[in-house]
Symmetry: C2
Subunit: 249 residues, 2 copies
DNA sequence: CGCATGGTTTGATCCATGTCAAAACCAGTG
DNA sequence: CACTGGTTTTGACATGGATCAAACCATGCG
């Protein structure tokens, strides 16, 4: 049928370009490109873009120009309601791809805000699409990334729809832990880049509830918090919290 | 760069095949194919598949074989928690594409259950991917569909995270209404194919709360319910309900 | 350094929704 | 038709989390 098109030199160049642009392990599975080459092309090509703490990477309603891969830093995305209510839809860190929601209508439907000074790289959608037409493994990988976002969203629904406050928080902390670990950082000790209010918004709770739950976890010896600094001291117990709350009934 | 590849006869044949398989307007934007041809190829090719009420189309954990487009009928998808809790993640009707969550890991992460006798058609992912490499507009369309699912999910998060019971229910009813309307059915009168419990699960509420809220809407003249049959008698009021609840504070 | 600002903690109280229970209803079946 | 099991409604009551309020703390700035 459709033989996997052999890659031309130009294809390979373009592939390197997209991949290197963002040091996205995310998008870089496809071909085995060597590090030095990547690094070189890196400086030539890319639309790297700094985003200062508090700045918007994009806002709901504006036209989609590119997807953005986070190189460094930490961001949140927020869905808005006409009446001003806003809901944090996710927290994003190094390697995450943002803007997928905008493909649907060519307009962003959420805000993306940097929670600390960050650096992103732009990936023009049309270029990515063109390239992924030529390189099946890139195509597949892109699809997986979108699908992974859907899976994540389902997880959040489960959390919001059927867990209670402390379960939600435990799940949240474990999720952060895991993601930091996957990026080579400590799984047990990290900074909460976001405020209690933002955590609350994400978890469908009020900031006071977050604060109280954190205090409780600390009393119970599950964590140690001091301001934004947090240390997970009993991960198994946190895990146990998630499932067993509702088992009595 | 990469010129939009001209379509061979075979391409066009395959495109027709995928599109016709499911009478998916969803996937059929790309080329202007005439109705009769579609209908003909329809019978030749397709993996149409009936799903009886109560049957699983797929279950969490099993391997991804295909995506499924709903031809007729009504389904729900449920995310599960180890401890048995289950959460309805969505309701799906004619034209919707199911199974996108499984692309990420090659395994389904939710159950899909028919809420009435339905008919789906299988779309092998690999075929769809192959074809979309050859036909840019199909590729783009597929991306939009995935993105649309993400957008939907963000909407659900907003709903679960920051709306209260009656707002959620109003939003739910209006959403259903809109989707029926988009498919040529009445926007104001339809059957709720799911139980109160399933609505509750989807909305993060208990069935009693759903029941009470429906009764209240009826008292207030917003709707008329009789068992599963529902009629939206004051859509503007329902709409108003969604935003204005929290405006006092 | 001290002040201002925004974030956090903690307490007291209230309310929306959950829980438990019973009765009514309905759809399908023998 | 009557019986059965599942669904829905409604009521009474309990409770988790929201709300309101005040004090505390950290950070940044003049």
């Amino acid at each position: 049928m459709s033989p996997p098109s052999t890659l031309t030199q130009i294809d390979i160049y373009k592939l390197r370009k997209v991949c290197s642009v963002c040091s996205l392990r995310e998008l870089c599975l496809p071909a085995g490109l060597d590090q030095r080459e990547l690094a070189q092309i890196d400086q030539l090509v890319n639309r790297r873009q700094p985003v200062k703490r508090g700045d918007y990477l994009f806002r709901a309603g504006i036209e989609l120009r590119s997807l953005y891969a986070i190189r460094t830093g930490f961001m949140k995305s927020c869905v808005l309601h006409e009446d001003g209510r806003e809901q944090v839809a996710g927290f994003h860190m190094m390697g995450d791809l943002m803007g997928l929601d905008a493909i649907s209508s060519n307009r962003h439907i959420c805000d993306a805000v940097a929670l600390e000074d960050s650096e992103v790289c732009e990936i023009p959608l049309s270029e990515l699409e063109a390239l992924s037409r030529e390189i099946p493994s890139l195509q597949q990988h892109f699809h997986r990334i979108m699908s992974r976002e859907i899976v994540r969203d389902y997880g959040v629904m489960l959390l919001l729809g059927s867990m209670k406050a402390e379960e939600r928080l435990a799940a949240f902390l474990l999720n952060l832990s895991q993601r930091f670990a996957a990026r080579g950082y400590s799984a047990t000790e990290f900074n909460l880049r976001m405020t209690r209010e933002e955590i609350g918004s994400y978890l469908g709770l009020k900031l006071e509830t977050i604060s109280r739950a954190l205090s409780r976890f600390q009393e119970d010896g599950l964590i140690a918090v001091r301001n934004k600094r947090i240390k997970l001291t009993d991960i198994p117990a946190l895990r146990a919290l998630i499932g067993h709350q509702a088992c009595g009934g």
